[in-house]
């Protein structure tokens, strides 16, 4: 598959083949250059890698446990469920939280005479060189230990092949799904469809969890292992269970399962390759705009969306109006917003439904009695509030170099931060209200609405305060690509780490609400709304006040960090 370079005047130099090796070297080089002279980036990368290693070690022990302890009957279950969850995680987590590392942006290769096949294999191989991929590989190698302990070296060999194939499957799934989803979000016509799709994927979590809970409640190992067997025949479990099958004497199953995996990988890569094409071509403009023609003359009125008629026509108002428009018009922000909306509604419903089932099913075995459900609700509200607020952790990164306009105009930091919070809250607060109502209806506890809204607002406000600081101090530049899930060169691990850290701090800042729910009992159902609102509002304003001072002092530095390097 030689690359045909059309250079009629250079017969002397035959074009050399471009192989996956070149892509890997290119990626490592870009990552290395990115670290140059940026000590904190290296530190974050090392810290993130250590976290990854820790997860890898934990996973390894888990997957090796059935083999090491000689409990062979759990082997298939651990492999099918653990491996399945891993694949599911690779499928969904990039969409929800972290994005994909686009150190090698496909759009950059658009002009090179590379066959698509070379490009896909090259980018795919480069994608394997990442901390999460290595961590997952290490963790799942635990299955090899199990297979070896149960079935000797032949089973171990099959397990190695299976685990490697499974890793390829994970990475291919992550790439294909984010790329396809990005393509969809780019086009305005199907963005609603995209929202529905994300909703469905998130909703998948629900039935799965219910099935799991039901199975746990029955404590029926036969049924559970039946489910594991079925999962083992889907791409989610096939690569991981092949080695176990050999160990348990079903040698014929292994080649079939590996074939299933290979077919799944091939299908995912073909899918990715198709959406890659559109990612490369459509790279110039991230959001095709309808050229609505209209008389200009009332520019100020045009800037303010109709829903913002009440905002004053001054600097603060302009900031709010522009931010509000950007949360919808910028594909990257819109993707974040939709994700928050969908996850924010589904997760609490699932947690609370599944959670109460869990509590009932386990009876006194589970330490928390039934009456403590307000605590569980508060905890899930904490999650939603934190998730919503963490969207602002890199709010200046969304703007990129356009932030220069604010530096030139000398926008006061406190006003800027308050305006950004206000604009985002215009979208989020109604959503939080919907979450509370939906949850109250689903749980059949309308009396809890006040407490839910109170905890939500309190967590959200505290999260805003924390993330405002993070956004001023820990901003990073986002690549100017069309993929709303793209992260910039190589530092993906560091950024996920930063996100987790700010979520953690936000959660800690909101813990008083959960404690109050646990200690105050019924009084809290009434007190939560006023107290939570005051807490959230106070925290947000305090955060804007303190971080605004910092922002005033480091506007040019912030501009430099969010400007993508070319």
């Amino acid at each position: 598959m030689a690359v045909a370079v059309s250079a009629p005047t250079t017969p002397a130099a035959p074009p050399r083949r471009v192989s996956a090796r070149h892509f890997v070297r290119l990626k490592l080089r870009v990552m290395g250059n990115n670290f140059r002279g940026q000590g904190w980036r290296i530190a974050l990368f090392v810290a993130g890698s250590l976290v990854g290693l820790w997860f890898a070690a934990t996973g390894f022990v888990l997957f090796a446990a059935p083999g090491l302890s000689g409990e062979g009957r759990y082997a298939l279950m651990v492999a099918a469920f653990g491996g399945g969850v891993t694949v599911l995680g690779w499928l969904l987590l990039p969409l929800v939280f972290f994005g994909v590392d686009e150190t090698l942006d496909p759009a950059r290769f658009a002009l090179l005479p590379l066959p698509r096949r070379t490009l896909v294999t090259g980018l795919f191989t480069a994608a394997l060189v990442s901390v999460p991929a290595v961590a997952v590989l290490l963790a799942l190698l635990g299955l090899v230990v199990t297979a070896a302990a149960l079935g000797g070296w032949s089973a171990a060999l099959v397990a190695v092949v299976g685990v490697l194939a499974g890793l390829l499957l994970c990475v291919a799934a992550a790439r294909a799904v984010t790329s396809a989803f990005a393509t969809m979000l780019r086009s305005r016509r199907v963005r609603d469809l995209a929202a529905v799709l994300l909703a469905l994927t998130a909703a998948l979590l629900g039935p799965l969890q219910l099935v799991g809970v039901a199975a746990l409640r029955e404590t029926d190992w036969d049924r559970l292992s039946g489910v594991a067997e079925v999962v083992g025949w889907t791409p989610f479990g096939a690569p991981w269970t092949a080695g176990i099958d050999v160990a348990e004497g079903r040698v014929w199953a292994a080649p079939v399962k590996l074939l299933i995996t290979a077919l799944a990988i091939a299908a995912l890569l073909a899918w990715w390759s198709r959406s890659l094409e559109s990612a490369m071509v459509g790279a110039a403009s991230a959001g095709p705009a309808p050229a609505r023609r209209g008389a200009t003359g009332a520019s100020v009125a045009e800037l303010f969306p109709r829903a913002l008629g009440w905002v004053r026509r001054d600097r603060f108002g302009a900031l709010v109006a522009r931010e509000a428009r950007y949360w919808w018009r910028d594909a990257r922000r819109r993707a974040n917003l939709i994700t928050v909306a969908v996850v924010g509604i589904f997760v609490p419903v699932m947690v609370n439904l599944g959670g109460s089932g869990f509590t009932v099913g386990q009876g006194q075995g589970f330490s928390a009695p039934d009456t403590s459900s307000p605590v569980l609700v508060s905890v899930s509200m904490l999650f939603v509030g934190v998730l919503a607020a963490v969207t602002l952790a890199n709010q200046f990164g969304f703007d990129g170099s356009a932030y220069a306009a604010h530096v030139v105009a000398g926008v006061p930091g406190q006003q800027e931060l308050r305006a950004r919070m206000t604009a985002f809250s215009i979208y989020v607060l109604p959503m939080l209200g919907v979450v509370s109502v939906v949850l109250a209806v689903v749980l059949g506890e309308p009396g809890w609405i006040g407490m839910m809204v109170g905890s939500l607002v309190a967590t959200y406000g505290a999260g805003l305060a924390v993330n405002t600081f993070v956004s001023v101090l820990g901003a990073y530049s986002l690549p100017e690509t069309s993929n709303p899930f793209a992260l910039n060169s190589g530092a993906g691990v560091a950024k996920s780490f930063l996100t987790l850290l700010s979520m953690l701090i936000s959660a800690v800042a909101a813990v008083p609400m959960v404690v109050a729910a646990a200690l105050l009992g019924d009084v809290w159902l009434w007190l939560a709304l006023p107290v939570g609102t005051a807490y959230g509002l106070g925290a947000a304003l305090l955060g804007a006040y303190l971080a605004g001072d910092v922002l005033d002092r480091r506007q040019p530095e912030l501009l430099a960090t969010v400007t993508p390097r070319r």
Binding site: S285, G287, A289, G297, S299, R313, A318, A405, V408, E480
Partner: protein
């Protein structure tokens, strides 16, 4: 008070990126009412210098004054008098032209009625009215330069700092921009702009500074710098460029 102050004064501005010197101590005095061209080859440090002059990039050393206001000690005073069009910086381009102008006007604390009136006039003069509600991200390169210029002019600054205003602009738009800038200077404003296009500089500027490798090599009125030669000759001599001998790149010809 502004009469005795130069429109823009730079003293000892210096900047390094990762140990690599981009600007090595630039002194400049731009008289009020002048049309000042900052000339230099690619990578000379023009963008870096102008960014430090307007408060977008913190210098390692040195200071900058706009009509007597220290840009880094009294940013509010300085920035009010200043209109800037940076290079290689995005606009808030998910807004339409009119929305973008309204945004910039309100950011500057202007009265909404004045913003409406001036925005309509600017869009009309710059022939951007036809674009209607097209988002700026979908504008052509020339249109983006023009809307950027409109944003810089909207609040009626006393000093305009423009980085490469004529880059990637078609001749018709370039003539329009030239025209507007000349009217602005005749009206008492001061323009500082960077460029590496000799013809434009020769046609427009009253004063010229040639920047190369981060230092000012020549400075003065256009006549002083040019002498009896063409500006291009002076520029190539100062910058020390090489010309192709015809030996290299033989493979380019069949």
């Amino acid at each position: 008070m502004t009469a005795e102050h130069p429109a823009l004064a730079l003293r000892g501005l210096a900047k390094q990126f990762d140990g690599k010197v981009a600007v090595a101590g630039v002194d400049l005095a731009v008289p009020a009412g002048s049309f000042y061209g900052l000339l230099g080859p690619n990578g000379a440090g023009k963008t870096t210098t102008l960014s430090m002059a307007v408060g977008l990039l913190r210098p390692d050393a040195g200071a900058a004054w706009v009509l007597g206001h220290d840009v880094w000690a009294d940013p509010v005073g300085a920035k009010q008098l200043l209109g800037v069009m940076p290079d290689g910086v995005r606009l808030f381009d998910r807004l339409s032209g009119a929305e973008l102008l309204a945004y910039h006007g309100l950011l500057r604390g202007m009265d909404p009625a004045v913003v409406d009136q001036r925005a309509a006039e600017l869009l009309d003069v710059l022939a951007l009215g036809d674009a209607g509600r097209t988002l700026v991200v979908d504008y052509s390169a020339g249109m983006k330069k023009k809307i950027g210029l409109a944003c810089a002019l909207l609040h009626g600054p006393r000093l305009l700092v423009l980085d490469e205003p004529f880059e990637a602009v078609d001749p018709v738009s370039a003539a329009l921009i030239r025209d507007i800038l000349q009217r602005y200077v005749i009206g008492g404003g001061t323009v500082v702009f960077s460029s590496h296009v000799m013809e434009v500089v020769e046609r427009l500027c009253s004063h010229v500074a040639i920047l190369a490798a981060g230092t000012i090599k020549r400075v003065g009125t256009l006549g002083e710098v040019r002498g009896d030669r063409s500006l291009e000759q002076v520029f190539v001599e100062v910058v020390g460029g090489r010309t192709a001998t015809g030996e290299e790149l033989a493979w380019l010809s069949r």
